[in-house]
Amino acid sequence: MKSRSWAILFAGLIAALLLLWKLLPGSGGNAVGVYQDGALVKTIYLPHTGETETFEVFGTAGGNTIEVSKDGVRVVSADCPDQVCVAHGFLVSGKEPIICLPNRLVIRFQEDARPDGADAVTGGRSLP
């Protein structure tokens, strides 16, 4: 295959991937989960009213300090060297979860959660 064909192939691949990225369903809602090693550590309901709260989650590379305020959820400081999670800023509705790979921490919207935060509802109507 000629260089030119390869270039066209890569360009096509990039276009397809970007399209896929755009078409991916975004996440949102008002329940945000803080996960470590895939296990839910804490659930935060947005919008947060009242005073700004911070809490710390500890991992192998130290801790991440997570802030919950009326503006949303973000990582304010981390002990890891790369600081990717701090640079991420606030978690916004969309496709990007906040990730700290060194501490195996993920902060993302819980798509499966009900908007009111209930895990189940009693007394539904019977089927017709």
Partner: protein
């Protein structure tokens, strides 16, 4: 020489590459799963089971089998079920079915017939949930009432048969009993965190995986959403209300909760009754019974008991909550706490 070596390596490389890709794919599939949900249609309703932790999927598979078995035993509508055989005048030796029946009679006795499993002939007469639902003639109701009344049944022994003409429907506590069986089934398989919603009969197994309480919404009878929320763990929450199954005739609404003494739908000003109890079968039976009793008698009944808490929603929109739920019940509306 060099060429030959190079060629050999490429072959090994291809194999190694394929093996690596395969291994990664397996890792991707196997490891992300930590929660499993299944939705089944059984006992005339939609059931949603969600389990957390490793082995959740397998455990739910076993639970589904249990549910199918119970459904086949307890459904009054299925002609092949143990209950249908009992209602047709046959004798029943199935230990599990007799256990449910014994519990039904126990709750009927405790509530003085406010919950009565023998209302089945009346239910059939009214035809709730079928195409032929209609308001029967008073003479028809009076006739049917002759075959209704839990006190006419003898104590449960094996084998057991009903007095002729009588029939039972364990639908009132069947879901509660099923929920308890499922909970035991899941716990035996090492599941410590699960939510079982059997058509709005909710059982919370353990706590959430982070150790915190679950939250259960209580259905708003008017329209969508919830009028309040109860939080807790290792507990069952069951709601009964006239809004759940009814039909309308000449502008009037007739619902499925009947007074076993009059044969007519009960009207006590209650819109729904929610029972919170560790015993799901009890919660299921009591939610119906307390709805039949009406607010004042229900409160009296609660004061004399210590194994459940309740939330009452009135037709007027007022909410009453028993003392034990103070702190775990929340609502955007105002509510009154009933003291012991």
């Amino acid at each position: 020489m060099v060429r030959k070596r190079d060629g050999g390596m490429t072959k090994t490389g291809t194999i190694a590459c394929a093996a690596l890709v395969l291994a990664l794919t397996l890792l991707l599939c196997g490891c992300v799963q930590k929660q499993a949900t299944t939705e089944i249609f059984a006992m005339d309703t939609v059931m949603q089971l969600t389990a957390y932790g490793s082995g959740a999927e397998r455990a739910l598979g076993v639970a589904e089998g249990e549910l199918a078995r119970l459904d086949a035993e307890l459904s009054a509508q299925r002609t092949s079920s143990e209950i249908a055989k009992l209602n047709a005048g046959g004798a029943c030796e199935n230990e599990e079915v007799l256990r449910v029946l014994a519990r039904a009679l126990e709750i009927a006795e405790r509530t003085d017939g406010a919950y009565d499993p023998t209302v089945y002939p009346l239910m059939q007469l009214w035809g709730f949930g079928t195409e032929s639902a209609h308001v029967p003639q008073q003479t028809e109701i009076s006739d049917a009432l002759g075959a209704v009344g839990y006190e006419k049944l003898s104590a449960v022994t094996s084998p057991y048969a009903l007095p002729s003409g009588m029939a039972v429907d364990l639908g009132g506590i069947g879901k509660g009993f099923a929920a308890e069986t499922l909970r035991t089934c899941l716990q035996e398989q090492g599941i410590r965190s699960a939510v079982l919603s059997l058509g709005g009969n909710v059982t919370l197994v353990g706590s959430k995986i982070d150790g915190s309480d679950w939250t259960v919404g209580l259905q708003n009878p008017e329209g969508d959403g919830c009028f309040g929320y109860v939080s807790g763990k290792d507990v069952s929450v069951v709601t009964s209300g006239g809004y759940q199954r009814y039909f309308e005739e000449k502008g009037r609404r007739y619902w499925h909760i009947l007074d076993a003494k009059t044969g007519w739908p009960v009207e006590t000003g209650l819109s729904s009754v929610t029972i919170v109890s560790a015993d799901n079968t009890l919660a299921d039976g009591l939610s119906t019974a307390l709805f039949v009793m009406g607010l004042d008698k229900a409160i009296e009944f609660w004061r004399a008991s210590d194994d459940f808490e309740a939330v009452f929603l009135l037709d007027s929109g007022e909410i009453y909550v028993t003392q034990g739920l103070q702190g775990s019940f929340r609502s955007e509306r105002s509510f009154e706490v009933i003291a012991r």
